[in-house]
Symmetry: C2
Subunit: 255 residues, 2 copies
DNA sequence: CGTAAAGTTGAATTCTTTCAAACACGGTGG
DNA sequence: CCACCGTGTTTGAAAGAATTCAACTTTACG
């Protein structure tokens, strides 16, 4: 479930090799990694990568799968954060060790590349450190737009935003099939992400579907009226796009 | 309003010189800055540092004052983001240029140090880049906790969280006088930060004050019952504290 | 095929908003 | 010095959005 790999073989077939941290790592270090540097970690659907309160010992790049971050506060109350999608990172960033603020659970079978010592790698590679900062900044703006959306929008707009935001982020990595994307979220997940109840998410989804904006079937979502969704919540999407273009500039067009 | 300064004289009296970016900058570059490297920028209360849509040309460190970030979406709708407090940064991070996602308005007379070329500085200084990533990560967790709070808490808890969060961040820099902190926010600002209406913020403040949790007078807020506030929303504060300790470790105790 | 998990629906309640009006305060000018 | 005005705060009553509770239906899965 957790073993060392040779970078060359593993990365050469990775769809994320020209994005994010990987882009910089591969650019500069090529195939000379020490086997300790990178580990492969597999987590089956419904299993945890780590739990809130765990001591973390590395940075994880999600190669494939879908990770849900959540916190249990009081019993029965669960706060769910924006999902981690393939190519994105989680775990340690700039610290040498830290306690996980939230649990990370796989919603699909997932594969990670684990970097046990990102901080020290960054210490000798300012370009890597700068890319890390860029990724953090992107995450930050994403969180801020979720905040603005949840704070100021009604249920329909919140759901529309969630769908568009996921679509855009998946599309960046080419993980869409046209307007269809994987969608492993349950209604209770959506509720706990957007600050609604399951019941109200259900009613809201019903309305949006009835209006012909999208359909959900068998853990896949297909957008039927992108324009309508966009006119509802495009305001919250644009800053994220802009930030992505600025921070990660060349990545977008290199694949 | 915007002129070059000699680092040595300006920074030696700065209360932030042992925090954040400044700590790293001063550690490594000492007094040899080119006058172009750092500029001083003054912004009077109610004036803007920049407006949403502006092309940005530098990174700003707030030396003193209080900055409010906000976005106007539809007419009459204003989304306010967590305030920028002394010692914190805004503007460009890892890009060479970017369009401002939100407007930055001074709520008090404010003084900034402007770094026009942070990206290139980071390119030759991985420690600086790593600290930048740490600051972004801190901002990110802060935004996530605001998100969790706004999504899952009622009005009383949201207001309590806002107050505690501001108190903690000001206290980190020694900007509190005991349990009293500056508080230039209007009720409408609080409303637009927390996703409530002014009317409801007013009623909520009245309740919390009546319960003896704090008082507000003349743009200052005094916490009377820290324990009660903490038991209400400490859950949302702890991760932020932990992240700050991890990312900025030694800073806290160096002043 | 049967059970557990997820989704759907209705009715009553609660929290928050909306609209409207009144009040307090600080600054300005006569 | 006081009247006036604008901005921000306070209060009330009615309307609306989302929640709660409860029951029921459908789907997923061993």
């Amino acid at each position: 479930m957790n073993y060392h790999i040779k970078l060359a073989s593993f990365c050469s077939t990775c769809p994320n090799r020209r994005f994010g941290l990987c882009q910089i790592l591969l650019e500069q270090i090529s195939n000379q990694w020490h086997p300790q540097t990178l580990q492969r970690v597999l987590v089956k659907a419904k299993q945890h990568l780590f739990r809130q309160g765990n001591q973390l010992d590395g940075t994880f790049i999600l190669r494939e799968g879908w990770i849900q971050l959540y916190r249990i506060t009081e019993p029965g109350k669960r706060e769910v954060f924006p999902s981690i999608l393939p190519g994105e990172i989680l775990g340690l960033y700039v610290e040498d060790q830290a306690t996980a603020a939230y649990s990370a659970k796989a919603l699909q079978d997932s594969v990670f590349c684990k970097i046990p010592n990102l901080v020290s790698l960054c210490g000798t590679n300012s370009k890597l450190a700068l890319r890390l900062a860029g990724l953090c900044e992107f995450d930050n703006l994403k969180a801020e737009m979720y905040l603005a959306n949840v704070a100021h929008c009604d249920a329909k707009e919140r759901v529309a935003f969630l769908i568009l935001e996921l679509y855009r982020r998946l599309e960046l990595r080419g993980l869409n099939k046209g307007f269809t994307i994987p969608f492993p979220l349950m209604q209770a997940d959506i509720a706990d992400m957007l600050g609604l109840t399951t019941v109200h998410v259900n009613r809201t989804l019903a309305v949006l579907k009835a209006e012909g904006l999208f359909v959900i079937q068998k853990h896949e979502l297909t957008i039927l009226d992108f324009q309508a969704l966009y006119s509802l919540v495009g305001e919250y999407l644009e800053p994220i796009n802009e930030c992505y273009r600025n921070c990660m500039n060349d990545c977008r067009y290199m694949i």
